[in-house]
């Protein structure tokens, strides 16, 4: 078992989840709180990683954001090295790749919050940010957890972007999925079996959290839309 790859994968997934929740919470709230062309466009862009092959993202990050282009040189100034072959590079890739998994459950959750509660709080003179924190978020807590769990597991399962961008460096970019790939190519099926089983267990356990834990259900007893 490649413990280093396991640790790296968990670190990448946890960091991606943390960053994405910070981005997704305001973004989802904005999307859920109205209609219009701008919101439709943002939603479409957010959903792109669901339908695009990961190779598109890998290609852009490697070449369009590479050291030979202006945006790539800017990134080199920020990080001190190219985006490729680094943990930061994978983090950027993962954040983009898992964006819909963070945003969509939250949008569904926020939309399902009864507007009456929000209006009542606003009628009592509570400021919008406080309404979001003390009324909307608690009511949408199932979606928040669904969003976090799906982002985490989807990042654990990332492969195409990492293969194109990573450079397979132990401790920096060799994730479990890459490690498994190498084990299969190396005909080391015993090790591949252990890695595959571990990935299976992580994913199943995470999804069970969403479906089993009663506390994650909404107050009205329904589960978040994305996993129905």
């Amino acid at each position: 078992m490649d413990i280093q790859a396991l640790w790296l994968t968990l670190r990448l997934a946890a960091s991606t989840t943390a960053i994405l929740l910070v981005i997704a919470l305001p973004l989802a709230w904005w999307i859920a709180s109205g209609r219009g062309v701008a919101r439709a466009l943002v939603q479409a862009v957010v959903a792109l990683p669901l339908v695009l092959p990961p190779t598109v993202l890998g290609f852009y990050l490697l070449v369009a954001m590479g050291p030979l282009t202006a945006p790539g040189r800017l990134l080199m100034r920020v990080f001190g090295h190219p985006l490729a072959f680094s943990f930061e590079g994978l983090l950027v890739g993962s954040v983009l790749y898992s964006l819909p998994f963070a945003v969509q459950p939250l949008v569904a959750g926020f939309k399902a919050v009864d507007a009456g509660y929000v209006e009542a709080a606003e009628g009592l003179g509570v400021r919008p940010f406080a309404v979001f924190l003390s009324v909307v978020l608690p009511l949408a807590r199932a979606s928040l957890l669904t969003s976090a769990v799906l982002t985490f597991t989807h990042t654990v399962g990332e492969f195409g972007v990492v293969l194109m961008l990573g450079g397979n460096i132990p401790g920096a970019t060799r994730t479990l999925s890459i490690s498994l790939y190498d084990q299969v190519q190396d005909f080391n099926y015993a090790a591949a079996n252990r890695t595959a089983l571990l990935l299976l267990a992580i994913s199943l356990a995470a999804l069970l959290v969403i479906y089993l834990v009663p506390g994650l259900r909404r107050v009205d007893g329904r589960q978040a839309d994305i996993v129905q």
């Binding site: 490697l62 490729a84 450079g167 460096i169 299969v184 190519q185």
Partner: protein
């Protein structure tokens, strides 16, 4: 390039599937419907022979590969030599995966033989196959690459960079071997293409593509 030439000469259309030798071998051993496998070494085609999936008793050598050190012309490391590998400014050296790509195995062997491996190892960026290693360094993401002379001889790479040959004494010869699959529905065509590759005039063309003839 050779595929086009063969199609023009014979009218037989070739469907080419690319990958590292290890990746393709795994796929073939697990039933991929291939007619002919052109490996980048002897070991992987031999695995197919050992699995009794080949239409011959041994892999057929069709070319010899050469390992080169390549860098872009606009690299501050120019002019490059083998010692550039241990230059203090170097932070990334692309090689193919040494677990399943023959050129990766050659690169690691050469680095060890030149007593540079320990110094270079922290900077190694490992590509899935030799084409990706070449792509990593061509796109400027990696500073140096230990790639095939085949890639380095292509028009694009000649225009964009320079290379130095890694001494052939530092790694085992990359004897590129092929096998025809016993289960192929196009046995005759597969053998015909392999025979064509071994013709003297085609072997002579290999030289211009960065491969040495086998005879």
């Amino acid at each position: 390039m050779l595929a086009e030439r063969y199609e023009k000469a014979t009218g037989v259309k070739l469907l080419v599937s690319y990958g590292s030798s290890g990746t393709l071998t795994t796929q073939i051993l697990n039933g991929a419907p291939m007619d002919l496998f052109l490996g980048a070494d002897f070991v992987f085609p031999e695995k197919i022979v050992a699995a009794e999936m080949a239409d011959s008793r041994a892999p057929v050598a069709y070319a010899k590969g050469t390992l080169v050190l390549w860098a872009r012309k606009d690299s501050p490391l120019q002019p490059i030599s083998l010692d550039t590998l241990v230059d203090k400014r170097v932070t990334s050296v692309a090689i193919a995966n040494d677990l399943h790509a023959p050129y990766g195995q050659a690169a690691v062997a050469a680095l060890k033989r030149m007593k540079m491996y320990d110094q270079v190892k922290p900077h190694l960026v490992i590509a899935e196959n030799i084409a990706q290693a070449a792509q990593f360094v061509e796109s400027g993401n990696a500073q140096l690459g230990l790639i095939s002379l085949t890639a380095a001889s292509s028009q694009r790479f000649q225009a964009e960079g320079t290379f130095v040959r890694v001494p052939t004494t530092t790694y085992a010869p990359i004897l590129q071997c092929a096998v025809v699959m016993a289960k192929s529905n196009r046995l005759a065509e597969a053998h015909a293409f392999l025979d064509w590759l071994l013709k003297p005039e085609i072997q002579a063309v290999l030289g211009t593509m960065g491969l040495e003839p086998v005879k």
